[in-house]
């Protein structure tokens, strides 16, 4: 049954790509924030707000673009609050991130219930349609892997070189990096550290929001409490694994997506391994990956350290 095995492997790769998308959005966003020196533990909560707002916007207007924009706005608003706490008020960055996580988690669930109440049939939106490219999408193997996805998949993978270029080749990217590595020097050079950090953390938040909306608009069509299932945390792990570099984060997101697709595939085909152990894999693999890399270089020197002008 060689053909069947091939089909299964192909299916795992295709769904693996899709599973890696939310984490890619969140990871690339968090990378930008951390490059500026802001550690945001609140990603999971921001993604949940994105999942809710994206669903809500699409449900009301029937327009995915509106949904995505609302997801970005809701998540960016939480990120701005995190920015206010970490940049202006200079509270402990870990505590601020945890507060954002729990606030996003609670608020998304609360607003959803306030808007829709308890219904026997959960309100849903149609799943985002796929974009097929005439000719290319019908190609064997290559077609389904590369040319038969929803638009967010293409955008996510376009963002990989774009964010890389943004961080390393643009003057704004240089400012973000300087602010994260040596804020004192950046200040001396006349860079507005507060502005740059706000920009980076809000940009990161907007991207996390898209990642969250991917769950409700592409994967399920519903909003569910805790639909992100820890992906925001895995994204944090992957930023460390990826040494704050877009291509490595993408590699990590791929591994995560494939593991997730693989364990779902195993569940579907039936195996003696209890499904709970398969479901553990997406959580255990990131830990194992982090444990596997002993020396962790590349963290921005001023990560999680608030900046105050004129302070030694």
């Amino acid at each position: 049954m060689a053909g069947e095995t091939e089909a299964v492997i192909l299916g795992i790769i295709v769904s693996g790509i899709r599973f890696s998308v939310p984490i890619l959005f969140a990871g690339l966003g968090e990378k930008i924030a951390e490059r500026s020196g802001i550690l945001n533990l609140g990603i999971e909560g921001m993604m949940l707000m994105g999942a809710f707002a994206g669903f809500m916007g699409t449900f009301i207007t029937g327009n995915y673009v509106v949904g995505i924009v609302m997801a970005m706005a809701a998540s960016a608003a939480l990120a701005a609050l995190k920015g206010f706490m970490s940049i202006t008020i200079r509270t402990n960055q870990l505590a601020a991130g945890l507060a954002i996580w729990l606030l996003g988690t609670g608020l998304a669930a609360l607003l959803y219930r306030l808007a829709f109440g308890v219904q026997t049939i959960a309100p849903s939106v149609e799943l985002m349609p796929k974009i097929t490219i005439a000719g290319l999408s019908d190609l064997p193997v290559i077609g389904p892997i590369l040319f038969n996805h929803d638009p967010l998949v293409y955008i996510a993978f376009l963002l990989v070189p774009v964010t890389h270029y943004f961080i390393f080749k643009t003057s704004l990217g240089l400012k973000i990096r300087t602010v994260g590595e040596n804020p004192k020097q950046a200040d001396a050079l006349g860079v507005n550290i507060y502005k740059i950090r706000y920009l980076a953390v809000i940009l990161g938040g907007a991207l996390a929001g898209v990642g969250g909306a991917y769950f409700s608009l592409v994967q399920t069509g519903y909003f569910l409490e805790n639909v992100t299932g820890g992906v925001g945390w895995v994204a944090l792990a992957l930023v460390i694994f990826g040494r704050w570099k877009a291509y490595w984060i993408t590699a990590g997101a791929f591994i995560f997506g494939m593991v997730d697709a693989f364990q779902l595939g195993l569940q579907a085909t039936g195996t003696d391994v209890p499904y709970q152990f398969l479901l553990m894999l997406p959580y255990l693999i990131p830990i194992a990956i982090l444990a596997g890399m002993h020396k962790r270089r590349g963290a921005p020197a001023a990560l999680a350290i608030p900046y105050k002008r004129g302070e030694r």
Binding site: L41, L81, F84, M85, I89, R90, T91, N92, L94, A95, A96, L98, A99, I100, L102, L103, T105, G106, L107, A109, L110, L111, R113, L114, A115, G117, V118, E225, G229, G230, W233, V234, L236, A237, I240, P274, Q276, F277, L279, M280, Y283, L284, P286, I287, L290, A291, G292, H294, R296
Partner: protein, 366 residues
């Protein structure tokens, strides 16, 4: 300076007057929590009101649910047990700068430990069964918390990420056990009921409040005195300044292990008590997220046992009242969590904002 002098002195300079008022409130620790709590309730009212819910009715129902009956107040105290123990667990870790966000998973492992004692032969020995269940739940929680400790010390894995992700692993592991190895006969994924000997007795008739409240009080006192012991001083020093601790010849590895062990163990007891005191069997949703709320409690309580106890009691009332609102008015269950997180945000912002404001004013008056 006589009194009229002081008045005329400050009347002339509004800036000085404001700064004087702020100096009086310089210890904002006292003022900010109340303002933050009130503000959170205002935001909550706006959210509920915009959804067409009668806010006055909702908050009255909430208050009645928590304080309007003996049974309700018993439930507040019952939840205080879980929140206090879990809050202390997170506090011990945070105080030593070990960011243990895995209290929920450790709580579930402790619940498993308590269940295993309760359904085994050990659970049939009167007098010993309860103590054994508590000790084993501590050990289960502690051992599960040692996993991130090993990962941190030996492999350099950030404990925030490992503890959070291990929550999911613990819940899945419990789910596996309840669907297979320790499943009781019948349809539901429940464990068998624990023996009567291992059930914590109710201490107040007409309520669900059980003897675990004494364990929680004991743990509070224990944590208070822990900081005064040699090992307590060591683990705190490691948390405050790891370089200084290393220079003083303190064993960093041991400190991380002891901190996370005690932390996980306390969360484990919280879980064990949910089984032997409340549910009398293990189910998948035995904790409505106590381990996550505990993070807020530890931060609001400033990792001090007394602070944690006060916040735990207040949050227990909030959660009990919210459940009543949920049952009788259909206010979403997520209301309590949202309000708790809002209070934390306001306290984090408000506390430092007030400090910032007073500093600025003092600077300007100079």
């Amino acid at each position: 300076m006589t009194v009229p002098d002081a008045i005329s002195d400050t009347r002339g300079n509004s800036r000085a007057r404001i700064s004087e008022a702020l100096t009086r409130f310089r210890d904002v620790k006292f003022f900010v929590p109340f303002a933050s709590g009130s503000l959170a309730f205002v935001v909550g009212a706006i959210l509920l009101g915009s959804a067409g819910i009668d806010v006055g009715d909702a908050y009255a129902t909430m208050f009645r649910g928590a304080f309007g009956s003996v049974f309700g107040f018993g439930d507040v105290m019952l939840k205080t047990i879980s929140l206090l123990l879990a809050g202390l667990a997170v506090s011990v870790a945070f105080r030593c700068r070990q960011w243990n966000i895995g209290a929920e998973g450790q709580l579930y492992m402790g619940a498993l430990g308590g269940t295993l004692v309760g359904i085994s032969l050990l659970g049939a020995v009167p007098g010993i069964a309860i103590l054994a269940a508590i000790v084993v739940s501590f050990i289960f929680g502690a051992l599960f918390a040692l996993v991130p400790a090993v990962l941190k010390v030996k492999f350099g894995v950030n404990e925030v990420i490992s503890t959070v992700l291990l929550n999911f692993v613990a819940l899945l592991f419990i789910s596996f056990l309840l669907h297979g190895p320790i499943k009781a006969p019948g349809f539901n994924p429940y464990s068998p009921e624990i023996s009567e000997e291992s059930q914590m007795p109710i201490i107040f008739p007409g309520t669900r409040l059980h003897g675990g409240i004494f364990i929680a009080v004991l743990a509070t006192v224990g944590v208070y005195y822990l900081w005064k012991t040699k090992i307590g001083f060591e683990i705190r020093t490691v948390g405050a300044n790891i370089d200084a601790a290393r220079y003083a010849g303190m064993n960093i590895t041991k400190s991380v292990f002891v901190t996370l062990g005690i932390s996980g163990g306390l969360a484990g007891i919280a879980g064990g008590l949910l089984v032997i005191g409340v549910q009398h069997l293990l189910i998948e949703g035995i904790s409505p997220g106590y381990g996550f709320v505990a993070v807020i409690i530890a931060l609001l309580g400033r990792q001090h046992p007394i602070g944690v106890a006060i916040v735990a009691f207040f949050f227990a009332a909030l959660m009990t009242g919210s459940e009543t609102m949920n049952r009788s008015l259909g206010v979403p269950a997520a209301f309590a969590m949202t309000l708790q997180a809002l209070i934390l945000v306001f306290v984090l912002v408000g506390g430092l904002f007030a400090v910032w404001l007073s500093r600025r004013n003092r600077g300007g008056a100079r």
